[in-house]
């Protein structure tokens, strides 16, 4: 049966609201931009966008997927402890959580040692390290100390809202994290558990920090997600699957986004970059991000349709984490309120990963106004272009983005060819499963890429495998006009 459903993308960036409607083939059928007074809410944004699309009533009634790119989410994630109650619904609900590390012989830096003290005291009720973890060859670093783990679980039972678990080399062998999770589940019941191997990244301390932040944010994010879904019910969109922009240019279903809120950091910028490339029909390009104040604030690179990401090492709320986010090269203008061609040229150069000119695309609020202020030719580019609807790039980006999933693993390369093949297959399947968990259509999620990066100075050569899978967002409940369903996606 032909698919006649539509996807709605909604972007909120300061007081700028944009919307895009895409059909089942991913073609854009309608776009709108608005500037609202004050600080618009997602509710206000949905209202404004749906009002603009009244003329597309037929398509609007067939919307079964709604995706959001909300730049404000960056602040939610980065400054949870500073925001005031009216700006920030999470401020009083972060934590308390428990932090557990598996790997006793890592006492050189205990958990949370790199955290600002106030933030740590606010978020964490208790932390401990017990024996466990893995070695690079997959064997145990230490046998898992189940007794100590059980004691710890009992000591925090009833007093914590989530537990963060980080094992040494868990990205290689998550066995101990999973075994710990089973014990915590038994002792603590339904308390959310965040395990570091789901977050990924090599580097115990940074992965642990990201895991702890994720655990702290999980509950408030779930609460906000539920509010957002209630709001959509008011707009007769309760039947639709809801997605959020992630920091790698993909989207994630609301249940996954709420349990993995860290990945939303930078999502709005990533959606803008993807949308601008899409609008311009380019696979390889640079995208100049505008912010609605008449300046370009950063330049990003798109390679093979994917925004370029940082290598990790993202500091969030003063805490170093392993999070990989879209690489934004800031434009350091001498005069911050004007277009500084010299600063732009330099940012363009730094955003590239290799010599060779690329088109420079504008994207973001007010992009069209800026198009006239910029020279058509800029050193290092194939020209400056403002694609049609560039100011709605973020909405277009989320309306057309796939759902993504990743998996990582370290693999010795001197192993038997057969075992290497089975490891590659396992990683590929794990990435596919991750995409499905994040909300990809299980029928159509595919692994797109397996990267192998050699690790240096090892006595037995090994590579880090990283697989990426993608699929279109899973469809919501098909509805007929006048009879919208009100299915709710379960959130914690």
């Amino acid at each position: 049966m032909p698919d006649h459903s539509y996807r709605l993308g909604i972007a909120l960036d300061g007081d700028h609201v944009s919307g895009a409607l895409a059909d089942a083939d991913g073609d854009i059928v309608a776009v709108t931009t608005h500037r609202l007074d004050g600080c618009p809410t997602p509710d206000g944004a949905v209202t404004a966008v749906l009002y603009s699309f009244l003329a597309n009533g037929g398509a609007v009634r067939k919307i079964d997927r709604v995706a959001f790119a909300i730049s404000e989410l960056d602040k939610y994630v980065v400054f949870p402890q500073q925001a005031s109650a009216d700006h920030h619904p999470w401020s009083d609900v972060l934590g308390p959580i428990a932090v557990l590390r598996l790997g006793a012989a890592t006492a050189a830096v205990p958990p949370l040692a790199l955290w600002p003290r106030d933030f740590r005291d606010q978020v964490v009720l208790a932390s401990t390290t017990v024996a466990g973890g893995a070695r690079l060859d997959g064997t145990e670093l230490e046998p898992l100390d189940e007794d100590a783990l059980t004691d710890f679980a009992r000591s925090v039972a009833g007093r914590v809202k989530a537990v963060a678990v980080t094992g040494v080399f868990a990205t290689l062998t998550p066995d101990h994290e999973l075994a710990a999770a089973a014990i915590l589940e038994r002792e603590l019941g339904g308390v959310p558990l965040v395990l570091s191997h789901e977050i990924g990244g090599n580097g115990l301390l940074e992965r642990e920090n990201a895991t702890v932040l994720q655990a702290a944010l999980t509950l408030p994010a779930g609460r906000d997600a539920a509010k957002l879904q209630d709001m959509l019910v008011q707009h007769d969109l309760g039947h639709a699957e809801v997605f959020f922009a992630r920091n790698d240019g993909t989207i994630a279903a609301i249940d996954h986004a709420a349990t993995h809120p860290l990945a939303l950091y930078g999502g709005s910028a990533a959606a803008t970059v993807r949308g601008a490339a899409r609008l311009a029909g380019e696979q390889d390009a640079l995208v100049a991000l505008t912010n609605g104040c008449g300046v370009v604030h950063a330049v990003c690179a798109v390679t093979a349709g994917q925004p370029r990401l940082t290598a990790g090492h993202t500091t969030i709320a003063g805490v170093p984490t392993s999070l990989r986010v879209i690489a934004r090269v800031p434009v350091r203008a001498a005069e911050p309120t004007t277009v500084d061609v010299r600063a732009m040229t330099e940012a363009v150069d730094r955003a590239k990963i290799a010599p060779g000119d690329l088109p420079l695309l504008l994207g973001g609020p007010g992009a069209e106004d800026l198009a006239t202020a910029l020279p058509l030719r800029l050193t290092g580019t194939l020209g400056v272009r403002c694609p049609p609807w560039a100011s709605a790039a973020a909405a277009v980006g989320v309306a057309t983005a796939p759902v993504g999933g990743e998996a990582e693993r370290i693999m010795p390369v001197r192993g038997a060819e057969e075992s290497m093949r089975s490891i590659r297959e396992a990683v590929s399947e794990t990435a596919r499963a991750a995409a499905v968990r994040a909300g990809a259509d299980p029928q159509r999620a595919r692994t797109k890429l397996i990267e192998e990066t050699p690790l240096s100075y090892l006595s037995e050569p090994a590579v880090a495998l990283r697989a990426r899978a993608e699929g279109p967002p899973r469809p919501g409940v098909a509805t007929v006009a006048g009879d919208p369903g009100t299915r709710r996606v379960a959130t914690r």
């Binding site: 690079l136 090599n202 301390l205 730094r350 990963i353």
Partner: protein
């Protein structure tokens, strides 16, 4: 001087400058040092003259794969077992721990090891910078015996290797490190305080701290990276070679060699910007930056310390992170004098890193 919560960050910054693009990031071992002094109290930095002549100086370093040590961060207590083994073997007391390599990770790493072992840290190291080879230390030039090699992992397992030559020592020690899982803390070239007088690079712990303090002052004053590098050049008798954009980084393929010092090579082309517009520099790199050429002439060569700073972050750029498009300032600092003898240059001169170039001392303009 004592290392405590207040001055370790500056020291780490200086260690990265002395790393010359290698040695691993000092920022990664800084948390280990900070936690160690929080737990055990400040680490005293001492001179040889503060120590009894016939007691021992114990050089220590972290060895292995960076991808392992960021995950298995260890306990810092590895030095306790090493110290016990060294004292038992030599039948003498260890008077101080010495950093084997001040450049990069091992700088702050040695503070952590000293704190846990309850030892003061000698104001000296084996290199005055970073080098990849175990034998590329001042002690080797001075004729100190490398053997025994004492290696420990984070589970208090300790192995002592004794061998008649450096080759055998390294071959066996490598097997031990491999068995530990590519991460170990090791000690070689243990010597008496008396022997150490002519066999180490003196004052380098202080130098690294001073470099870090200058950078901190510049950062507080809001100086540009170029201005900060100018100040380093002025205060430490170096040269600011140029401010550039990186226009190409090319790995050199087919380096058929087994020795660590030469098994990784890349070459980069830098185009001068701002007041250096019109200049072109070629940068040769291995695990560290090894040579800078301009107009067919050598501007700087290893063992002089070539450090590349990111103009925007102000941080030294490790060789592996040098890439197209970066805006950088290149600084060269003079190597410790002991590396300039013919025998020493055989060990650490350009040819030791696979470059068919002779060492050319820095020309410092004292205008």
């Amino acid at each position: 001087m004592r290392f405590d919560q207040d001055n370790l960050a500056a020291f780490a910054r200086g260690c990265d400058v002395l790393g010359a693009g290698g040695g691993g990031p000092a920022g990664q071992s800084l948390p280990l040092a900070l936690h160690a002094v929080a737990e055990h109290g400040p680490v005293r930095v001492v001179e040889l003259s503060d120590l009894p002549e016939d007691e021992l100086v114990m050089p220590c370093a972290h060895l292995g794969a960076p991808d392992v040590s960021v995950e298995r961060i260890g306990t810092g207590r590895e030095s306790v077992g090493i110290r016990r083994q060294v004292e038992e073997h030599f039948g003498r007391r260890v008077a101080a721990l010495m950093c084997t390599e001040v450049g990069g990770y091992n700088g702050p790493g040695s503070v952590a090891l000293a704190a846990h072992a309850g030892l003061p840290l000698l104001d000296a190291d084996g290199m005055g910078r970073a080098f990849p080879g175990v034998e590329q230390v001042a002690m080797q030039v001075a004729g100190i015996t490398a053997s025994p090699s004492v290696l420990a992992d984070e589970h208090d397992r300790v192995v002592m290797v004794r061998a008649e030559s450096g080759e055998w020592l390294e071959r066996l020690a490598r097997q031990v490190t491999s068995a530990f899982g590519d991460r170990a803390v090791t000690s070689e070239y243990v010597m008496t305080v008396g022997q150490a007088a002519g066999a180490v690079v003196h004052g380098t712990i202080s130098t690294a701290t001073s470099i870090g303090r200058v950078l901190d002052e510049c950062a507080r004053a809001g100086s540009s990276t170029t201005a900060a590098v100018d100040r380093l050049a002025e205060e430490f008798e170096g040269v600011r070679l140029a401010e550039c954009r990186v226009t190409r980084v090319q790995p050199v393929k087919n380096v058929a060699t087994a020795t660590v010092a030469t098994n990784s090579r890349r070459t980069a082309l830098l185009e001068g910007v701002n007041r250096d517009e019109g200049r072109w520099l070629r940068l040769e790199a291995g695990h560290e930056y090894h040579a800078v050429l301009e107009d067919g002439e050598l501007r700087a060569t290893v063992p002089d310390i070539i450090t590349v700073f990111d103009v925007h972050s102000g941080e030294p750029v490790p060789v592996q992170e040098l890439r197209y498009g970066l805006r950088v300032v290149v600084l060269a600092l003079p190597s410790p004098p002991l590396w300039r003898s013919p025998a020493a240059l055989e060990l650490v001169g350009p040819r030791a890193f696979g470059l068919a170039l002779d060492y050319t001392p820095l020309t410092v303009d004292h205008a």
